[in-house]
C-alpha cells in the first residue's frame, strides 16, 4: 500500500508543478503588452530528501528572462524617452502558447497515471472487503 501512496504523492507533485508553470504562463500572457515586463520562467528538478532521490518534482525559484527588451518607437507613448522609444516586454506569445500546451499535456498524463494507481489500490482493497 505504501507504493500507492508514494506514487500518488509523486503524481500530485507533478500536477502541482505543472499548475504553477501554467500560472506563470498566464501571468506572462496577461503582461504581454506591459512596458518593461520581463518574462517569468521556473525550472523543474527532482526532489532530493535526505540525500536520496524521491522521484517527486520540485519547482525552482522564479527567474526573469534576461533577453533584451525590444525598443518600440512611439513618440506619443507616455513612457517614451527623448528619441521617442520605450522598452516593451520580452514576452513571445507563440512561446507562451507552446509552453501552456506542454504543461497541459503533462498535467493530463499525471492525472491519467493518478487514476490508474487509484484503480489498482481499490482492486487491492476489494480483496480485503471479501
Amino acid at each position: 500500500m505504501t507504493e500507492f501512496s508514494q506514487a500518488l504523492s509523486i503524481l500530485s507533485s507533478g500536477m502541482r508543478s505543472q499548475g504553477q508553470r501554467l500560472r506563470h504562463v498566464a501571468e506572462n500572457i496577461a503582461n504581454a503588452d506591459t512596458p518593461g515586463y520581463r518574462r517569468k520562467t521556473i525550472s523543474f528538478h527532482e526532489e532530493i530528501a535526505r540525500g536520496a532521490r524521491t522521484g517527486a518534482v520540485e519547482t525552482g525559484p522564479v527567474r526573469l528572462d534576461q533577453r533584451e527588451l525590444p525598443q518600440i518607437h512611439d513618440p506619443a507613448h507616455p513612457m517614451a524617452d527623448d528619441l521617442g522609444y520605450y522598452a516593451g516586454s520580452n514576452v513571445d506569445l507563440v512561446t507562451e502558447m507552446a509552453d501552456a500546451k506542454e504543461a497541459q499535456r503533462s498535467y493530463e498524463a499525471n492525472l491519467k497515471m493518478f487514476e490508474q494507481v487509484r484503480r489498482m489500490s481499490s482492486a487491492l482493497t476489494d480483496i480485503l472487503k471479501r
Partner: protein, 122 residues
C-alpha cells in the same frame, strides 16, 4: 493444499512488484519536463523471482522485494534538455503494470476462494 500458501506468496509478491513498478513510472511521468531526467523502470518480475522451482528456500527470497530500479535505454533520442521520458511510452508501461497487478490479484483471490471452499466456509 500445501502448495496454496506458496501460490499466495508468489501472487502477493507479483502484486507488490507491479505496484512498485507503477510508483517508478509515476516518478517518470511527474518528471516528464525535468531537464536531464532519465526515464527509469524496474527489472522484470521474471528476473526478480528467478527460475523454477518457485520454492522459498530462504526467508526474503520471494517477496523480498523487487529488483532495484534501473535506467532503461530510451527508444527515442529524447529531448534537447537531456530528458528521456516519453509520455506515450510511460502510459503504455503503466497500463501493462496495472494489468499485471490485476492478474496477480485475481490469482490471489481465486487461490483464497479455493482454500475457503476446501474449508467448507462458503
Amino acid at each position: 493444499m500445501t502448495d496454496m500458501p506458496d501460490l499466495l506468496r508468489l501472487a502477493a509478491s507479483a502484486a507488490r512488484h507491479h505496484a512498485q513498478r507503477q510508483a517508478v513510472l509515476s516518478a517518470n511521468v511527474a518528471n516528464a519536463d525535468t531537464p536531464g531526467y532519465r526515464a527509469r523502470d524496474l527489472t522484470a518480475f521474471r528476473e526478480v523471482v528467478g527460475d523454477m522451482p518457485m520454492r522459498q528456500t530462504r526467508i526474503g527470497h520471494l517477496g523480498g522485494g523487487a529488483g532495484a530500479a534501473r535506467i532503461v535505454d530510451p527508444g527515442t533520442p529524447g529531448d534537447p534538455n537531456g530528458n528521456t521520458v516519453s509520455l506515450e511510452d510511460q502510459v503504455l508501461r503503466g497500463i501493462e503494470a496495472q494489468r499485471a497487478h490485476d492478474r496477480a490479484l485475481t490469482v490471489y483471490r481465486s487461490a483464497l476462494d479455493m482454500i475457503r471452499a476446501s474449508l467448507g466456509n462458503r
